[in-house]
Amino acid sequence: MSADRSEILQGTLDLMVLKTLDTMGSLHGYGVARRIEQISEEALQINQGTIYASLVRLLQKGWITSAWGTSENNRKAKFYSITRSGKKQLNAEAESWERIASVIGRVLRAERG
């Protein structure tokens, strides 16, 4: 049960990272983590470190790329950006996410009613 749940969360996090990189362009790990926290209005309390597992998975699938650059405080940092296949994947995933969400929502409402 717990394994299933973490898997869902993993997928969700990957999707959020992908979306973040899509809207923000190139970002380092810290930036991605901060952005997700802000957007979710601090509702999502994650260890910022888990972002990195997500980034590795997306890199391996070829949906994002990485390059070393310089951060705003003049430090060397790794910047991530979405690739074309990543964008395609994001569209597909977002669509299916919305569909599932609406289905689940309908089911839950029906049960309540």
Binding site: N47, Q48, G49, Y52, A53, N73, R75, A77, K78
Partner: protein, 888 residues
């Protein structure tokens, strides 16, 4: 799908540069922490507080690094590398163990690879021709003579070529009855075949130089005198000069133009139709065979056909049978009672070898099984010593699967090393095998390790890894981890005794089965060598030659040549008796003839076939063939030579029974009405003409004055050894007429040896495997008993301390070993009895349940087991009770 490939590639890249990736990730995290700390400070925290909170927010650095490594790496590969490294360390710590295990496996795997390679080349691989599965042999024989060779006549061949719809081509092959002398330099006799023009295209073979036969050079009965040479002969005689094409070769005084040279790797693998396994040197158009215009009752051709694409052998067979029926009606005189047959060419080439080859493969497979059992036993011993370590690892949470993988990696490593060494062993063994193998078996094929052999070796390695590694691994893992922790030093070993015993019993059974198999073959072989061939093997030498016959020679002229030659050789030093014959014994059946007896009518079904030889008067005394009744030929038979014949006892028995055949009148051949009566003048002893293992068949001898020998086979009985006589005969031939060739010269002992060479080869290999099995079984039982005694040192000490005599201890331990051996003998005996039934067809006059063989095998095995148990047992009796009790 594509994503997986990309992920895998990326993982491999990361794994290769994993150190750099690790360093970069640390930098990345450090940067992250710094940014987070800055942010916290900006929010008003003290630097120390900011740093602490940053660490909390990010999560444990070590844990993150671990996750990152896991994600990026190849966990499977990493543990594998770890396992292999660990296994290497284990084995390095036990070099003796490692050497024994690797050598045992190398021996087993090497022997298997070598035998597989030989078996594969000789009997399993498709023939080296184009579309070999479409090539079939077509033949016919008299229905009541099923053991006879299959032949067809020239008119039948033409009918098949014209009428058979199932075939895209039908060719005839004909051996050359009259041997050939070339006119170049020294007279030389060459193996030659007449073949249809369509023969080489059918096999997908093209001459390397020059051209193939044209259709007009083999137009039914009208042929052109052209010849294609083998690559080997071309190299030998023409030094590989391409200008040989176009030159003429005098073949039996007839000039033939050389038109082509066959490719170097071309092998004729058909049945040795010329009666010899050596490769064919000359190929001539079938139409140049003098027999080609003979009628249907002269059957001298081997038919070979290529079925049309999509036509099965069964369909082709159906059609040929239908055609055969039609021939029988249309040509009742010659074709009635003939039975046609179609069989894949591969069956005639390798089919007869297959049972023997599979037996070898099975036997050597047993040896590998035994080697695996020994290594399993060794691994178990090693694991015993490591019981504590494994128990600790289990207790610390290593999963069973992980430990299983670890143990299997060790056995795989051993098998892999064994495989590498095994290939070296196989290489050497194959060379020995090829040197040992009789020429009739190898037929000029090259046997060497190739990709298929390596593939087989790999499979053997994997099987060995599983067989030697899995049983002990499962055994160890099923043992209770707690015991290992509690018992100091001894680890798991205590519980393995039964398992080990089972391994020993299995080994004993396998060894017994192999011993019985080898024993049956040895017994059969001894019986075979005991068979009296019907002639003097010890004192007779033979060689073949040719007398200078021309196309205009008359029979009396050739007879005079034969006589002059024999008379001249009789003068040679050391010759006691000398004679000539048309064909030596032990060479299988020849064409034979049909017997007609005066005053008797045979029904169509009745057996009336008789083998046929031409012999000079001196042949019988020279060969030591005894006269049973009547008289032999003499030189006075000239006047009425056509009218006399000598028969053997088998013929007398078969056709006359108790009656005296001497003085009876017979006719020979399929058309008796055209012939004169022949008087039987004598009966001689039986000779094993077909082979030692076949019963003597009815035989009729005619005098040379009736059928002169153009290529007589001379047999000479020597005063001394036949080997000493051979050079004397050769020089006598030289001084008589140096233009006459001398070939196939050997002693009768050689002839007998050649006829049993295949059996001897099989028996030698099987005996070798049985010895190896015996050795492995001895090691197995030795190891198990030693181990068991080592474990029971304390018990032994106690017993001795309590007053047991060394004799009692000796008895106890030996009894334990012998129990295992006895159980193995019983199980092995039963399985052997089940297995030997399958080799019945390969045995000569030995029952597959021969009690003597089973008994001797069982005694041998028990004796070896007893011997193997003795050393560790003696050690047990010398246990010092004080030392033993302090043990552990």
């Amino acid at each position: 799908m594509f994503v997986f490939v990309r992920m895998f590639a990326s993982k491999i890249r990361s794994w290769i540069s994993r150190r750099r990736e690790d360093r970069e990730f640390r930098q990345e995290l450090a940067g992250h922490l710094e940014m987070l700390t800055h942010e916290n400070i900006r929010c008003g925290m003290s630097p120390a507080e900011a740093n602490r909170i940053a660490h909390v927010r990010l999560g444990g650095i070590t844990q993150l690094q671990e996750t990152n490594r896991e994600l990026k790496g190849l966990p499977m590969l990493e543990t594998l590398v770890q396992d292999i490294r660990y296994a290497f360390r284990m084995l390095r710590k036990n070099p003796g163990f490692m050497a024994i295990a690797v050598l045992t496996l190398a021996f087993g795997i090497g022997a298997n690879s070598a035998i597989f390679t030989a078996v594969d080349t000789l009997a399993l691989r498709p023939l080296p021709y184009r579309n070999p599965e479409r090539l079939v042999t077509i033949g016919s024989r008299e229905a009541h003579h099923p053991e006879a060779q299959e032949w067809i006549s020239a008119p039948t061949l033409f009918d098949l070529q014209d009428g058979a719809q199932s075939f895209s081509a039908v060719a005839g092959i004909s051996p050359v009855w009259n041997n050939i002398v070339t006119g170049r330099e020294n007279a030389e006799r060459l193996e030659s075949l007449y073949v249809s023009a369509g023969f080489f295209p059918m096999l997908g073979v093209q001459p390397a130089i020059g051209r193939d036969f044209r259709a007009d050079e083999d137009a039914r009965t009208k042929g052109a005198n052209v010849v294609i040479l083998s690559y080997a002969y071309w190299q030998r005689q023409f030094g590989g000069n391409p200008a040989a094409v176009g030159q003429t070769l005098s073949v039996s005084q007839i000039p033939f133009t050389i038109i082509g040279i066959l490719p170097r790797d071309f092998l004729y693998l058909g049945e040795p139709v010329a009666g010899t396994p050596s490769q064919i040197d000359l190929w001539m158009p079938l139409a140049t065979n003098p027999l080609i215009a003979r009628p249907r009752n002269v059957r001298f051709l081997k038919g070979i056909g290529q079925t049309k694409d999509g036509v099965s052998v069964a369909q082709a067979q159906q059609e040929i049978l239908r055609m055969g029926d039609a021939f029988a009606k249309q040509f009742a005189d010659s074709d009635a009672g003939l039975e046609f047959g179609v069989a894949p060419l591969s069956a005639s080439v390798s089919g007869r070898l297959r049972p023997m080859m599979l037996l070898l493969l099975g036997a050597v497979g047993f040896v590998l099984l035994m080697a695996c059992a020994n290594v399993a036993n060794l691994l178990l011993t090693l694991a015993g010593a490591r019981g504590k370590e494994l128990a600790v690892r289990t207790a610390l949470g290593a999963s069973r699967l992980r430990l299983l993988r670890q143990l299997l990696t060790e056995s795989a490593l051993l098998s892999g090393l064994g495989g590498v060494a095994g290939i070296a062993i196989a290489y050497g063994a194959l060379r020995g095998l090829v040197a040992l193998a009789p020429a009739t078996l190898v037929q000029g094929r090259t046997i060497h390790l190739d990709a298929r052999a390596l593939l087989f070796t790999t499979a053997a390695v994997l099987v060995s890894a599983l067989l030697s590694g899995l049983p002990p691994a499962l055994r160890i893992l099923s043992a209770d981890a707690g015991i290992g922790l509690r018992e100091t030093g001894r680890g798991f070993t205590g519980g393995h005794h039964r398992f080990r015993s089972a391994l020993v019993v299995a080994q004993m059974s396998l060894a017994l089965a192999l011993l019985v198999g080898a024993g049956l073959f040895i017994r059969g072989f001894v019986k075979l060598l005991d068979v009296n061939p019907g002639f003097d093997v010890q004192h007779v030498a033979t060689f073949s030659t040719q007398v200078p016959v021309t196309t205009t020679s008359t029979v009396p002229q050739v007879v005079a040549l034969d006589r002059a030659l024999i008379d001249r050789l009789r003068q040679a030093q050391g010759v006691r008796e000398i004679g000539a014959v048309s064909r030596l014994p032990l060479l299988g059946t020849s064409l034979g003839s049909t017997l007609t007896i005066e005053g008797r009518s045979f029904s169509a079904q009745e057996y009336r076939s008789i083998e046929y030889r031409v012999a000079s008067p001196g042949y019988f005394p020279a060969m030591g063939i005894p006269l049973i009744a009547g008289r032999l030929f003499d030189d006075h038979d000239d006047s009425n030579a056509k009218g006399v014949a000598v028969i053997d006892e088998a013929a007398a028995q078969q056709f006359w029974g108790a009656q005296n055949p001497v003085g009876q009148h017979i006719k020979l051949g399929p058309n008796p009405e055209k012939q004169d009566w022949i008087t039987v003048i004598g009966v001689v002893g039986n000779v094993h003409h077909v082979g030692l293992e076949a019963l003597p068949v009815p035989e009729v001898y005619r005098p040379i004055s009736f059928s002169a020998l153009g290529s007589p086979i001379i047999v000479a009985r020597s005063e001394g050894t036949p080997a000493a006589l051979l050079p004397v005969l050769t020089s006598a031939m030289r001084s008589y007429n140096s233009a006459l060739p001398v070939y196939n010269s050997f002693s009768m002992e050689t002839l007998v040896e050649r006829s049993v060479a295949q059996r001897r080869f099989l028996m030698t290999l099987l005996s070798g495997f049985a010895c190896a099995a015996l050795f492995l079984a001895a090691i197995g039982i030795y190891g198990t008993i030693s181990q068991s005694i080592a474990q029971r040192t304390r018990e032994m000490g106690l017993r001795i301390a309590l007053g047991a005599q060394p004799r009692d201890v000796l008895k106890m331990v030996l009894a334990q070993g012998m129990q295992l051996a006895a159980l193995g003998v019983v199980i092995g005996g039963l399985s052997a009895a089940a297995l030997t039934r399958m080799i019945r067809s390969l045995l000569f006059q030995v029952s597959p349940f021969d009690v003597g063989v089973f008994f001797v095998a069982a005694i041998t095995l028990c004796a070896v087991a007893l011997f193997a148990c003795f050393a560790p047992t003696l050690r047990a009796t010398r246990v010092d009770p004080l030392v033993a009790l302090r043990h552990e």
